[in-house]
Subunit: 347 residues, 4 copies
């Protein structure tokens, strides 16, 4: 930590800081520049120290020099994390995977039609929401546990791991029972109690970036899970909120490239939420694989114009099959071919 | 709802939309302009319809004309909501109230020093966090239930209602037992399960705006609470996330003025989080009262430079007393004097 | 400047940095912390150095410790700058001033009606646009030089200094001839050639904050003017672009309070552009004065619903007179009464 | 245009609007929904009408249904625009082009080294700044006309069209004389005088998106150029400003995919400014081509760690050659191979 002093700071103010550091078992080293003095803080600093020093007299600002996340930091843990799922599916091993399915499970027929379609097209993991976070209380809120059963049943029959969103500690037992991966949505990225409780279930966690979450906050949210003893975190970039309203969100592919460098955790892309428009999903899927994403998460609905949730950003199974073909060619060309199909085919 | 057609739309595409509306029990009225045709949708539209129509062929975009919130809408419910708290404290009756206390309860001594100071200075409600949402898992997470007891005990002795943050449905019974107002923080504004469960407790809810939440989303979050049968919602503007990093957040006073017009719910301002710098708290408190806020929420700590949380934005009791005096004069001058002191003085 | 090294940095990488600094006539001081080494750069650093050091091997990031603006910095120049205008009007002396008038000069009748109204109500400076920056080429672009003459003539007759926007070096002679203050709009805050050329005219400059400009960039834009030898800069906060679309912009009053601390330059507020809605102008004017602004800039149009530009955010002269009364009472109450009326009354 | 009335609107308010429309030669058609009435405006509406109607009593909001840009709109002009440059270089014909060179021309040696490197590696157009918009007045501001000559001379010798930034109408003759394409930078996207004056030169314009410019504003800026009679506009996405500070800007690839759909103009990507970090340039170049960009603009400097401008985001010629190879393979794989080399090789 570096304490930057005001230009007019007094010696008494400097001494007060050095003394406070000493009281805390730390040491301050003063460095006098041309126009300003700084004090480098040496020792095991703790996060609250920054705020404390900021309020002391004579201080202009306090700069951090170390990364606040440790377990998620590639400087500490250099090898890529690979998350292992049922049916031999692996996330993060250099071969991108494709997660697909409807935003929400609506009926057994709808889910089954979507699931068969995405399996045939080459997807690796089945998604579908049973508990839906909806902006309005008057929107469809999901089927709950019956939806979970429909999803799990389709996964079993088709030989696909399933992922579904966990919205609250209230639902943790139900979701843990039926889902192979627990998804934490963008509105819950900083729901720290949920992160810790979900981590304890022991299943892999798919952690979305918050709607306006910085990359650092996202990695710190992952740190909550890792610190609770669960190493199997898959990060998911899903678009951030910006001033631009022509698209629902701004899919931040810079972030994918940067996170691959800062952390060892796998990171996938969600172009459906990241654009909010079905006709942008294919180009942004291509871009996501080109930038180095470890996978895609795509909304597919048998009839998007009758969907009860997020229809405007869903593909038909036919469009999705075309997307997988195109993405597959690109992945091949850049030396990162798609992951092989899951091992077991449904009987 | 207004469906805007592409310039090159065909009659078949238009007919498909009209027919789909008919199937749903709605009616479409076509209006042909100079360069474009639109279809006005008549009948009881539902939120999902917009997405559905967006994906139909020939459609450029779908515009909404009604407000998605009903119970929070001043057009429907014209009279100001006034929230009644213990000790005769009323929020929203035209006389601003002041909520103050430390970010986190740290020790009995610390909380008691802060509480006595804010009571003497003229505050109306005591705040203090026992469950703290912290960006890093390595930061102080709050005292939990023992912290709640310390807070409640100080409120009882001083004759002040207390408010504390509820982070998770996991803690709902504990927080409900000790707190007069349940605070929903900015990271939980769209934690819809928490909103519904907290609403059922029956105590007033202080609902912060999300870190990057629109005003409409905020009012829809309030709608979740109102729709669950709890009319006692106090909104709290606490600064939004923007590109500007010179302040911790950007306190959006436009929003306070606009919400007073759009809704009947009381709305208060949190200049401590809204600026993140103790020396900006006083000017922004003045501005908040001038713009029409129903109250302030201020962080006060007996020794901010030793605080375990948010020290950089906390005032000393002395600074706080000065703030209340200045704010009081301003409130008087604009014809909205501060609320009288709570009725009972601690023995 | 502080160079933060990677955790795995080698001695050779460190030596390369120290050597490069030496070549540049600077000195590097190494400080070894628990997990990381930093190098403090001593000597007269230049802005480009940060980029250069960032690309060297072993470097994690480079932190700046000094402020990049010098002449605008209150640490260097402690006394408030007061800008003197014709008719004895002073900006920045602790008594707020009010600038008012239509967004655009449309006709002599319209401007004269507005000007008489705002003079009678107590405004200090007359505004009106003759060259208008419009998002669309199909919108009204202003009257040009004839508009300037109408504006200046009204100012002369009423005894009011006038301010109008300078959009381009192309128009600099014309605007300089007719205007007492040259306004640089939000789209030109970083039009550095214009800043330097306008500065040379020698008249005071009203410098708006850019639509998405940081406070630091704003002060650096002022630095361009100060560095060109013109000390008379009036800053104007006019709302920033954020994700919120319920208001046209987000008026950032945090920025006004912070700029008063960082710089000695006067800073005024523009609630008309800052909200984009006429009914929010009065509450945000109150808030602006309460937070410490040195003045207000308000759009007033004799018939806002027929205005050729920004009608939705303009007040009628009647509404404006009410605003000045309310703002005046508030200013009095906080010990910063409004500036006296300009000295000369039109004959 | 659709006028949405308040729920409590009176008949008199409605009549006032219908009458005002009639006065303007327009017609209003009333449509009564379940909870709200709207008025569709029929006839040739003009941009100012929206503001005017917004201020009339009883009006909740006014919605636009047509696009404000006409000449840039693909609905009106369906075929892709292809911009022809010297040496047979074509932009927008389905074969991406690569623009490369240093941020600023510093010396003849530096520019020549960079230019030879990028020519050999397969670039199509040479870039280099002679007039540099710099945030601080104390940063290197470019060589001016001597820099233009160095750039043009290298282009002539190597057989490459050149592009350089035009910062002000002050410099228009000089830049027009030496440059094959006039670049309008992100700080000048809404410098409307500059757009019109640059358009009149008759050379192609490379128009960057503003730092916080919406896609609609960007297309309207292009409309200024098209409307001035110059059809040769190349759009360039260069990253937008968001809350995220881990990268310099957020390169918005959603925007590239969407602009290809909304407009017929070619659009290229600038991953150097869009990320601000040299190690993110390659992955984001791959992603840009994958999403459908018509080209790339890349900063290349012979020794980035000694660059006078933007060193942190520049590649070495060696890194750049690797990037072109990788991008070329990807472009081939997706059926959009890179454009052939410019026709003439330098003697």
């Amino acid at each position: 930590m570096i304490v930057v002093m005001n230009m007019g700071r007094s010696e008494a103010q400097r001494d007060a800081i050095l003394q406070r550091l000493q009281t805390l078992g730390l040491r301050g080293q003063e460095i006098s520049g041309v126009s300003r003095t700084v004090i480098a803080v040496l020792g095991n600093v703790f996060p609250e120290l920054r705020d404390e020093l900021s309020t002391m007299e004579g201080v202009d600002e306090v700069l951090r020099v170390s990364k606040p996340y440790k377990l998620a930091n590639r400087e500490v843990h250099m090898d890529d994390t690979v998350v292992e799922l049922p049916y031999g599916v692996r996330v993060g091993d250099g071969h991108p995977v494709i997660i697909a399915g409807p935003c929400a499970v609506e009926t057994e027929e709808q889910l089954w039609a979507a699931a068969k379609g995405i399996r045939a097209a080459g997807a690796h993991i089945l998604r579908g929401g049973a508990f839906k976070p909806r902006t309005s209380p008057y929107s469809f809120q999901g089927l709950g546990v019956p939806g979970l059963k429909i999803l799990k049943d389709a996964g079993d029959r088709l030989g696909l791991p399933v992922v579904t969103e966990l919205m609250s500690v209230r639902d943790i037992d139900a979701v843990a029972q039926y889902s192979d991966v627990l998804q934490i949505g963008a509105r819950n990225t900083q729901n720290f109690v949920l992160l810790e409780e979900a981590a304890k279930v022991g299943k892999p966690i798919l952690l979305k970036r918050a709607i306006a979450g910085t990359i650092e906050e996202w990695l710190l949210a992952a740190e909550y899970i890792l610190n609770a003893g669960n190493p199997n975190v898959i990060l998911c970039e899903r678009g951030i909120r910006t001033f631009e309203t022509a698209t629902r969100n701004t899919l931040d592919l810079n972030a994918i490239a940067l996170v691959k460098r800062l952390s060892h955790l796998p990171v996938i892309s969600d172009p459906s939420h990241g654009t909010g428009r079905w006709y942008l999903v294919r180009p942004m899927s291509m871009a996501s694989i080109a930038v180095g994403a470890d996978g895609l998460m795509i909304e597919v609905h048998p009839s998007p114009d009758h969907a009860l949730s997020d229809g405007a950003q869903s593909l038909t199974p036919g469009n999705f099959a075309g997307l997988v073909r195109e993405v597959g060619k690109l992945a091949e060309a850049i030396g990162r071919p798609l992951s092989p199909a899951p091992e077991r085919i449904a009987s």
